[in-house]
Every structure is written in structure tokens, then in C-alpha cells.
Symmetry: C2
């Protein structure tokens, strides 16, 4: 089954304690679609400017990603600059140049309409940046400081499952009991303790790509698939942070991914 | 094998978003020894005042804890008062009355000398409070913001294994490769998402009690034992926070503990 990603494609300039990278390919839809491409068919809707080269196109094409939905507009591609302090948990924005992204109206090509899975990345980054800086994730939506209680409140709003990401501590998925049966305990997947996080940019979108890509490739969506998907999300996020930008995501093999999956398993499984 | 706990026994007055409890039995050695008592023989060295009743003694005796090392001194027992804000992650101290604890000199009874495991709780709480408020755990000791790199630096200082606690996200154990063989990946145990944390006081000491108590009961100390011990630490911490003070820890059964252990397993194990 196929996944449709709608979000930003950008050129990022990133400074971390490990070094810097200027004008590297980034954006939520980029990280997501590269990560998901290792599992399933991926289509992307985004906008780029006249400075977007065929080399840039090829990053997607090499991974078999359908880029017919990438619109070309007059002007420059969206640019973001940011840096991370020592703890790497928070990005500080140095500049945001919306450029062609300012007038972006997502248009879904007719041949994409049958996509079974949709990933909505950041649509209005300047607006989202403001909103995000003021909120602390799901707890604000639910108005509750207990993670477990907040999760139940969000599930009561309609979704059948809810993933809460914890950065370097992994992620938890909560299940709606109406869908998955009573006594459906939450499930927690770890993140890998990594000695040198080169650049945390895109880790969350890569997580989402691995998570959704794996699900789309299974053909059924049950509790066990969601649990494994949470592990694959962590796996893809752990690769991304090892290099600047999308570098590591561009050159993985299935074996790399399976080997890392086994490490994640050993990280939490008792014999 | 037996565990010796040296630390504080106190009367705590605690305010949390769930309510309050005044002058309830607490202290690091108390939480630790109650938690460890479900697994192995426990001995305690601490000091209490003239206000420490036989009812208080009985809390330990009912759990079979050897309290011959509890010294009786003239004056009042150590008292601590604190409160937790909405997120429950940080205790704010309202008052500290050291009382008999101020002159506490731990004396190890001769019959305790054969203890194979030692837990060192807080010895100088006023000093420790100051120091702890200024540091962020192991990262300061290692002078490093990468958890994995910091862990390796601490292991290089001598210990064969290092446990790093992550509060509501569980704990990670790092292994010295010289002892456990190269390629000894770290291991991460979860914490249980709990809808209502009534009182987080003592969760860490209860974790330590479950962790060390389980190890002491095994007779051998290998990687698999340490991994399971990390789970049992989380299990005992999860019980403690369900009630104020040590209430929940006083009345557990082996079945309660094994049932909770299974929930922890389901929380992270793929089929």
C-alpha cells in the first residue's frame, strides 16, 4: 500500500556541537519520505523553487519516491537555519525564509488519490513554529499532566491509537480499547543511546516515515503491526541523527535496517 | 544473600496534586528496604528519635527487615516536608528538620558485616540537597551531554555496570565490555504509564530496592540477571507512586509483583 506525504521540502543550514552543514536538503516531507521509502511506495506533495536542482530531484528518485506532486514555483526554495545547544533536545531557529512555501497550496495529483496512508507534515512553518514553541505536545491538547490520562483523553476524541514521542527515550503507543479490546496495555519502544548525535534535525519525521512506511507495507493494521512499526520508527530516527541532514537516510540497505532492528530488540527484550 | 541499606528514616509531609499526607514514614532507607524485602533478606542502618513508635518499628518487622542497626537517639526523628508541582518530576522542599539525623554516624553491627550488597542512601541530606539541586545526574560527573558517551566515561572510572534512571521513561543499564564482553549493548527497561501518580516520593529508592533485592536473591550476577533486576526496579517504583508514602509497599504480595512484571514485559516485548 502507498503512503502520501504532504509537507515541506527545504534547504537547511544546521549548526550542532558536532559541526555544521549549509544548504542541505531537508524538510519534513523529505525526511519522512526517505525513511518510508525503505518499506513501501511513497508519493510526495510539496513545493520547491527554481534553485531546486536535478541532483536534488535524484535524491528522491533514487529511492523510488514518486515526485510528480512536487510543484515548481517561481522564486527560491524554503530555507531554514537553526542550531542545537549541548543537550540537542531543542532546535533554536536562526532564520526562516519561506520563499515559495509562503504561497504553497497543496494540490493532490489525481493519480495519488488512491493513497491509503497520509502523512501531514508542517504546512505553515512560521505559524507552526510559534504554536509549537508554546505547547508541550499532547499534554496541552488534553490539558493534563499525566501522560497516561492525557492519552486516554485524546483517544476519547476519536483516534484508534495514539503515538507519543519521547525524543531520546523512545515512544509510547496507546490503544483505544473500543478498537483493540479492553486491557490493551500501552506499548513502549526504546530509542538507541547513541554516542554522538551529529544532527537531530528530521529525527521525528524519519520516525514517522519508518512507522507509517512499515504499516503501509503490511496489508493489515493490528496491535502487533503497530508495535513493530514503533520499533521501525525508532530505527529510522536513529539512523538519521548519525549524520547531518538526510545523508544517512539516502544510503541504507535492508540489512542495515534489520541489523539495527535486532539491536533495538536486544535493548528491551528479556530472554 | 542479604542487602544492607544505610540511609535516612524520616517522617515526611507531602503535598501533591492528588492530596496531602502528614508525618508519614519515609526516608531513602525505608523505601529501599521495604521494596527489597519482597526479594531477599534486608538489614538497615539508620537513626530515629524518641518519637519513633513501635508501630513504626512494626512496618519494618512485618516485612522481616532486620532493624537491629536502627539507632535510637535523644530528640526527634528527621522530618522532611515537600511538594510537587503539576508535572510531578521535581520535588520542592518546604522544610528540612535534620533533628537526630544531624549527628548520625552510621555504625554497622557486627552481625551485618557479612552483607553481600550495600545500598548507600542519602547520608547528609542538607548537603546532598544542595549538591543535587546543582547537578543533572551522571552527565555532570562525566562532563558530557551524550548519555551513551557519559556512561562509557563513568564505566571507565571502574564500575562494571551503570544504571541511569529516567524517571517516567524508565532506566538504562550500561555494561562494562571488559566484564561482560564486547558488544554488550545497553539495556533499557520501561516505566509504566500510570494514570494517577499519587506521590512520587521514594520512587527512586524503591526502584533501587527492587533492583538490588532481586539481584541479591539470585546467587549469580550476570547480564540477564541485571536486565531482569532493572525490570523489577521499575515494578517496585510503579507500586510506590500509586499511594502516598510507603503505604503500597507495605502490603504487596508476590502475585502482585509477578502480575506487574508481566505488564512491564508486555509493555516492551514484541511477539
Amino acid at each position: 500500500m502507498s503512503v502520501l506525504a504532504v509537507g515541506s521540502v527545504a534547504f537547511d543550514s544546521i549548526v550542532t556541537p558536532s559541526g555544521r552543514a549549509d544548504n542541505v536538503l531537508g524538510g519534513s516531507a523529505t525526511y519522512f519520505s526517505l525513511a518510508a521509502s525503505y518499506f513501501t511506495e511513497v508519493r510526495i506533495v510539496a513545493v520547491v523553487g527554481e534553485d531546486f536542482s536535478s541532483d536534488n530531484d535524484n535524491v528522491f528518485k533514487k529511492r523510488g519516491i514518486d515526485i510528480r506532486g512536487i510543484q515548481r514555483a517561481k522564486g527560491k526554495t524554503f530555507r531554514w537555519g537553526g542550531h542545537y545547544l549541548e543537550n540537542l533536545n531543542e532546535a533554536k531557529t536562526d532564520f526562516t525564509e519561506l520563499n515559495v512555501f509562503e504561497q504553497f497550496k497543496p494540490r493532490i495529483p489525481p493519480e495519488y488519490k488512491d493513497s491509503q496512508f497520509l502523512f501531514l507534515g508542517n504546512i505553515h512553518p512560521s505559524l507552526q513554529t510559534t504554536v509549537r514553541s508554546e505547547m508541550d505536545g499532547v499534554r496541552l491538547l488534553a490539558g493534563d499532566n499525566s501522560l497516561a490520562r492525557a492519552a486516554r483523553k485524546v483517544l476519547d476524541m476519536g483516534p484508534q491509537a495514539l503515538v507519543v514521542k519521547h525524543g531520546e527515550y523512545g515512544a509510547t503507543i496507546f490503544f483505544d480499547e473500543g478498537t483493540f479490546g479492553s486491557g490493551s496495555h500501552p506499548f513502549r519502544a526504546p530509542a538507541l543511546p547513541i554516542e554522538e548525535v551529529k544532527d537531530p534535525t528530521g529525527a521525528g519525521d524519519s520516525f514517522a516515515g519508518g512507522f507509517m512506511g512499515y504499516i503501509a507495507a503490511q496489508g493489515e493494521l493490528n496491535r502487533e503491526v503497530l508495535k513493530r512499526a514503533l520499533f521501525y520508527g525508532g530505527v529510522m530516527g536513529s539512523f538519521t541523527v548519525e549524520r547531518f541532514g538526510t545523508e544517512r537516510l539516502q544510503s541504507l540497505t535492508k540489512d542495515d535496517i534489520e541489523a539495527r532492528f535486532q539491536i533495538f530488540r536486544e535493548l528491551t527484550h528479556l530472554e
